[in-house]
Symmetry: D2
Subunit: 356 residues, 4 copies
């Protein structure tokens, strides 16, 4: 594979779980050349020292974390991944773009089109609102064409991915009542990041299940933004995340009522057919969406470690409601895997390159 042309890439803020996973994926990606990784706290250490799992890659032995400035990074890489906390990424994106790099941001900083909504959910002013119009929401199944040419991609949050992929086709087809959507999500603890907080200690999470962020989790901002676009009108969503004792995986169960024209008893069959048709039309050819059909239900253990999302649905004839379920790996399809998918699209590579 020596003669394949590779795209030079850098990962900024590579000390957390998404950063580590980006590094792992990029090291084994046949078309990527990892040229820089940064982390203030890890500067001077080699990749292999910090992430023993990737120590067998020659690059991991030689490449050291730096605390490089954006201009320097843009010199070293054509595409730069930002795996920084929200509110920090925003300050790196501008200089990197200006220096000529393309940016794939995994934080929330460029996901929200409206600076007002950003402020409402993130409790501070957006510091680079001028960059927002150019940012593309990095959900490949929905925005593939825009991602292709984008210079700034804002990768979706882990929960939003698990809700948007199953629901966008149904809203676009006007099959479900937007205001009826209730999303109940379960997440593994890696979603909280590699933060030394008592709440995420093993003993506090193991043998525990709890809701959090009730009723207004930050991810609602992007969930409602994208569902509103799909529905053609403003949508308010009910969303409750829960923490369960697994390392990885998000399982989301969504409840929705059919739109009024589909609600009559006689239209039950039609409703079911149209749900299936809408999902098939949207995803039958997608490389990372697995529609499960009528026999099995999503299970996080079938997607963890992969970039796939599983989707299934059932109609409850007793209540008339639709139940849609999805399962994904929160760090892969919900973060770093999806970022690589965007990278492949931006670079003109096969979308599953380095991901299967």
């Amino acid at each position: 594979m020596k003669n394949v042309e590779r795209t030079r890439v850098a990962v900024v803020g590579a000390s957390g779980y998404t950063g580590e996973e980006l590094v792992r994926l990029l090291l084994r990606h046949p078309r990527a050349e990892l040229t820089a990784v940064t982390s203030r706290q890890l500067a001077g250490k080699s990749l292999s020292e910090v992430f023993p799992r990737v120590a067998h890659h020659a690059t991991a032995q030689t490449l050291q974390f730096t605390d490089a400035a954006p201009a320097k990074i843009a010199d070293q890489a054509d595409i730069v991944f930002l795996a920084l906390p929200h509110g920090v990424a925003v300050d790196f994106a501008g200089p990197l773009l200006q220096a000529g790099a393309r940016v794939i941001d995994l934080s929330a900083d460029f996901r929200i089109r409206s600076p007002e909504t950003y402020r409402e959910f993130y409790a501070h002013e957006h510091r680079a609102p001028d960059l927002l119009p150019a940012a593309v929401y990095g959900l490949p199944e929905i925005y593939r064409e825009q991602i292709c040419a984008a210079r700034l991609v804002a990768c979706p949050g882990c929960y939003p991915t698990s809700i948007l992929l199953p629901m966008i086709p149904l809203l676009r087809e006007r099959l479900v009542e937007p205001g009826s959507i209730i999303a109940n999500s379960l997440s593994g603890v890696s979603g909280a990041g590699r933060k030394a907080e008592v709440d995420y200690l093993f003993v506090e999470c193991n043998e525990s299940a709890r809701a959090y962020g009730v009723p207004k989790h930050r991810h609602l901002a992007e969930i409602e933004q994208e569902l509103s676009i799909a529905a053609g009108k403003s949508v308010a969503v009910q969303f409750t995340p829960h923490l369960i004792p697994v390392n990885r995986g998000i399982l989301t169960t969504i409840y929705a009522a059919p739109t009024s024209e589909l609600r009559s008893a006689e239209s039950g069959v039609e409703f079911a057919e149209r749900i299936e048709a809408a999902l098939r039309a949207a995803y039958a050819d997608e490389p990372f969406v697995r529609l499960l059909g009528g026999k099995v239900l999503p299970d996080t253990k079938n997607v963890v470690g992969s970039n796939f999302i599983e989707i299934a649905w059932r109609l409850d004839s007793r209540t008339g409601r639709l139940i849609v379920m999805s399962a994904e790996d929160n760090i892969l399809k919900g973060a770093s895997g999806q970022a690589i998918q965007c990278f492949n699209i931006m670079s003109g590579y096969a979308e599953s390159e380095g991901l299967i």
Copy 2:
């Protein structure tokens, strides 16, 4: 404590998780004398051999499992606990009652008042419909007086307990729209019983999260029965159980809309006040219900190993919906602990005797 008068008790079908827990609770109960335990497969073995955790009780050393007939058991015990699969318990209850014993049944066999509903959900005819009118649903916080005098108590299912306790007061007060109730539950694997099935192997459950029984789980029969009584009209509920990798614990998140008169913007505050008032009025003096107030949310780790249920609620001003959460130990408040609570009531003991 030697001179305290004790009630003689037996456990029929003591080989599973609820049976084991009943045995453990009864052995340390200051007012119970465990005189018989039955299990076809374990007959001849001592309690201490089968359940090492209770081996320090003198009774556990001497008491052996038998395969005794109901008449024999009724000779030995005043109150008999049935920890049998549904469809099996029904055949023991009649003979035991006839022989003079009082019965606390932990199966589903006597929970459903209507034999037709039983058949719909359990797929076979009820074999003792004549006993149904006398059976009392063993939810102490709701049916305490009837339990007191009951000769046949049908202990609620684990999921129903976690849904009924928070919702009954709200429906009685006509605060939420019955048809809007969506209950999303997470359960530990002990809920599946001690069955040698591949689905419940460690490797299949660990690092996994999945819904099951969608959309018509059997527990819906009793959930809807009891919520309909509370609402004064027939209620259809949306209920989705999920399996998560913990040994014990159920976390239930319930969504409901306010009734139409409480739905206007200006009535938000009133709605909140009435929710809190209804729950306080119902449970402030209950020994095993913990109302959490506005600061913390239920967490199964705070109730596992105890007979408590934690309840909290939040109002979502954006959607107008109420979110109610509860946490319990599925084997204790959801099964064997609640059965002991019923036993205490039936015997005239302090309700928390042997449970704190």
Copy 3:
């Protein structure tokens, strides 16, 4: 139980896992009256706020954490439990003793009789060496009489308890070669305390197994001290602790060779008989030691949540070695439960009071 006379107790440094467990055990202890709990960081909060699991106790509603000085605490309590880090407890013990309180210390500060050994293993000078001669090592099965009258009890470490109880009788009877002892221990993560460190995050511990503290863990100091006393000569032990993903429990597997006179092939049967006899003689009447005999092996799940230790052994006829296994709850028999056992002995109560 209102008229039972109770001993007034205090817990100093009650914010960690052992402190929380002490509080839980003391609140339900029929002969203890918890009058004070201290924690600098939690001062002003009520017990029920900090430890939801005990919120149903009336005392938990009213008793608040304070930052009280030793003299004040000694005013409020007859016996004071110190659940402080080592190196901190030492400064509380003296003033408390002087003010008339008896002290049960759960730290390592008074376990090591020799200040030199303390310095070797804990890397600083002992600050109250004058108190060491009066301190009693709080292993009830070995030092019951001394504990009875002790004013300062040093509770054993969690690992030492799991090694000393099985091995002391064998060394006293000169059955195994002291220098041959190799102890391999597995511990749940609660052993690391409630510390916000990345190493103990859920994601870092779940699906992980690792040795640590190799080859010279601090607990060796007390293990060797007590085994040397039992053997009548200086013993050097091989000890390797491992971290496994459970909340609680220590499983220790110990390897030892028979003493030379018992090593011949023909003496295999005698060796086995004498092992069993030594353990039976030592522990048959002990309330918290469970000798398992030849059929089953220790399993942490059978002791977690209790103050019991399970012990079993096997002889390997191929290598001639003895394998001894023990299982305990590291927070109970390995810490707070054992401390309550000492408290009962010091107070003249039944040894299992409040523990079964």
Copy 4:
């Protein structure tokens, strides 16, 4: 990659965890073409139905499980993997070899050179002793050349791999006393296979740690066979496996004394240097052995999901003993990954092909 020549492979008995992993690895292997999978119980089902994780491979959609006879399988494949229980594989190997296929057996049937030893440990006569002389023990780091030309490869057991790789170089160099070796292993539950037994239910394994197979586990047969070869004399090993609540991973901690000539105090430094030198000489260039040096210790989470084994060692100057630790994925380096490594060697491919 279309024009790469591929080796046709089949997996016999593909329903368990090692079979599933073989299938997963072979489907993504650039030089393997999976042409047949067999399982009596799954015959007629497609791979994608049974193993949702691999459903995205085109082959998984079309390839169905069969119950084919050896001759038929040998028609379809050049190399056949046997993922059958021991005692069953033996009956497939002969016919497959006779029909011209090469065989990689993952059972224990061809690991033991002596039929007498096989009978001693597996409690039945070996049914194809004539095949034993030709079988090669499939530990690539030790038998690479023999594997290259082998027609029948017997892949090592999971525990043996974790013990043999660290110890063989030390025995070959006569650095440790063979009779002093004590191996203490911890294994994830997948090691027990996908068997519907109560002992391996989630609730029985979670929050549990226990030894088993004490003192004579079957894997001792191959451990002692291979260590004896390395030592040049008969070796009896102490080995204790433990079950811990992780899906995958084996952590082994081994204790050994230096040989007599290296035991003097002054030779401590030399001993350390020679240990390190022996391991470096053996493994510095190995693609799947990671020598950790003096800073970190093996952790299963760093090797799970990979074919790597981590090895570290420490010298205890107090006892004079050597402590060697290793970590591997029991299903990969301990089974299916190692089988693929053998496959690569047998086929003349790069040894890490399809494994990194």
